[in-house]
């Protein structure tokens, strides 16, 4: 881990109408590492992660203040090209959402909409991305099949491959394994271990053991606030805050 900061969030507040979903969040996301966000449902973790790639813009009545500094600019300002931003910071959702197209068309979707037409290039990108998502061997002989035929775990890895094809720097994962069975989950976790070498990863998870397994730093969210943020081992074994301690010891969940 290089110790470099990829994204720096300062004083982030966010409202849906009158409801304040995020309260004064301050956090630095380190580069090429996995940062986990844990906490009970509805406490702002997903909202926070969606702010990083401006996906909250799709919701009505959203207001935010504060700054998110990435690559030297505040990506919350209105001058930011949201479309380009999402090529740099990509997201994988809780429920895998492959397009009803072939596996190949899914993987190269991103490069295609960005203008890459050359078949050879697209095939190279597809192979590289599918390998990067640890699914190449399973699909290399059936790239033309519908992506919807894959199992849940495979679909999720395909979604990750789709993301890798766009060559982002940051991968946001909103509970990527919660809809999957244990075997598929462990495949995803192994994948994260590999991916973090080249990508900055922020993962929201309900599963504390998962957070403990894959992440180097963990943040605990409670009612829209970020209560504690520390190296994972410290957060779990020596939590500074009482609420953190209650949560990680299972007193509430």
């Amino acid at each position: 881990m290089s110790g470099e900061i990829e994204i720096s969030i300062k004083n982030l507040n966010l409202w849906f109408g009158n409801f304040q979903a995020l309260k004064n969040i301050n956090i630095d996301i380190p580069k090429n590492a996995v940062t986990a966000l844990i906490g009970p449902s509805g406490c702002g973790k997903s909202t926070f992660i969606k702010t990083l790639d401006r996906m909250n813009d799709l919701v009505d009545n959203v207001k935010f203040t504060g700054e998110i500094i990435y690559k030297g600019r505040n990506i919350l300002d209105s001058d930011t090209d949201v479309v380009e931003l999402r090529k740099e910071i990509g997201m994988v959702f809780q429920k895998p959402n492959p397009f009803p197209k072939s596996i190949f068309d899914n993987v190269v979707y991103g490069p295609r909409v960005h203008g890459i037409r050359d078949k050879k290039t697209l095939h190279e990108i597809a192979e590289r991305s599918l390998k990067g998502a640890a699914i190449w061997d399973e699909v290399k002989d059936r790239l033309g099949e519908s992506a919807l035929r894959l199992s849940g775990g495979q679909q999720q890895r395909l979604c990750i491959a789709r993301l890798l094809a766009v060559e982002p720097d940051v991968l946001l994962m909103d509970e990527p394994a919660s809809a999957l069975d244990p075997i598929a989950t462990s495949k995803i976790e192994d994948l994260l271990y590999e991916l973090k070498k080249d990508y900055t990863i922020v993962i929201v998870t309900h599963n504390m053991q998962q957070a403990a397994r894959v992440s180097s730093r963990t943040a605990f969210f409670w009612l829209g606030e970020m209560v504690e943020y520390a190296p994972t081992i410290d957060l779990f074994e020596r939590p500074q805050n009482k609420r953190t301690e209650d949560y990680v010891t299972g007193k509430f969940g």
Binding site: F93, P100, V113, R149
Partner: protein
């Protein structure tokens, strides 16, 4: 015991209603097809109708006329309806404008075809005569477009609505613009539904008479341009029935129309089936 008998009687009546509906359709179709199919021959389909009252010739020009006016109607109504559906579903929330437009489409769908015909006569045949050629394929087709539009709009909107939100999120999340997301993910996914809407709209246009009665002219010759008058199949049936009592040719023409309608019914059924299965990944 009386209750049980009432129950059986009631269920029996309901069965009767269902079977009766089926029987009605079969009787009508059978009557037309049995009397009309024998008339359909290559000659019937490729020869032109005879001069005034001559029976036993063909319906070629009427087929061309039907295809032509339907084509015009679709060409105009398709972009407006599909584009409108895209706007309503992709660019607006459930707001006043959307409700007004949807209401307007419902009202338009309910306007009797004869009123569309009156309007078409005033607007296309008289007012826009220099552009449409008066009574013509173009006038008829444009009038029909008013009837195709609401059908296609409603079905396209439903098809777009059925596309799951996650797909849009997914494509936007990969750095596609909104329009790219629509053209590369949403529309391809909704395509069977959209096409169904257009086919059903075409079916309406093909079967319509009152609207073209006052706009298309009724000339029996093959129309060579959009400005020529013409006589689509439906109008032809009416004319030869009332003017010349030529039931034979009427049967033949009706049989052709019925076959087209059945083809449309089966195609749209198949398409909608494929659509629901596609969304489930089968």
């Amino acid at each position: 015991m009386a209750a049980k008998r009432r129950e059986t009687a009631a269920i029996g009546l309901l069965w009767g209603a269902g079977i009766a509906t089926l029987v009605i359709l079969i009787v009508i179709l059978a009557y037309i097809l049995v009397n009309g199919l024998p008339l359909i021959s290559w000659h019937f389909l490729t020869a032109n109708p005879g001069v005034r009252g001559q029976t036993g010739t063909g319906i070629y020009s009427t087929i061309v006329a039907t295809v032509a006016v339907t084509g015009v109607a679709l060409l105009v109504a398709a972009p407006l309806s599909v584009g409108g559906a895209i706007y309503l579903n992709e660019y607006t929330k459930e707001n006043l404008l959307r409700k007004v437009i949807r209401q307007a489409a419902e009202v338009l769908a309910g306007i009797p075809s004869i009123i569309i015909g009156l309007f078409g006569f005033l607007f296309f045949v008289i007012y826009l005569r220099p552009y449409t050629g008066g009574w013509s394929v173009l006038s008829g087709g444009l009038a029909l477009a008013f009837m195709v539009l609401p059908i296609s709009l409603r079905i396209s909107e439903e098809a777009l609505k059925a596309v799951p939100a996650e797909l849009r999120e997914g494509s936007l999340g990969l750095g596609a613009t909104k329009w790219q997301s629509i053209t590369t993910v949403v529309i391809p996914t909704a395509l069977p539904g959209i096409i169904t809407g257009l086919i059903l709209g075409a079916g309406r246009a093909i079967g319509e008479t009152a609207a073209i009665l006052l706009t298309v002219g009724g000339a029996l010759s093959v129309p060579h341009s959009l400005h020529d008058p013409a006589c689509p199949m439906t109008l032809y049936i009416y004319n030869i029935l009332t003017e010349y009592n030529d039931t034979r040719t009427a049967y033949g023409t009706a049989a052709v129309l019925i076959i087209v309608i059945l083809a449309i019914t089966f195609t749209t059924d198949y398409l909608m089936n494929r659509y629901t299965r596609k969304l489930k990944g089968l």
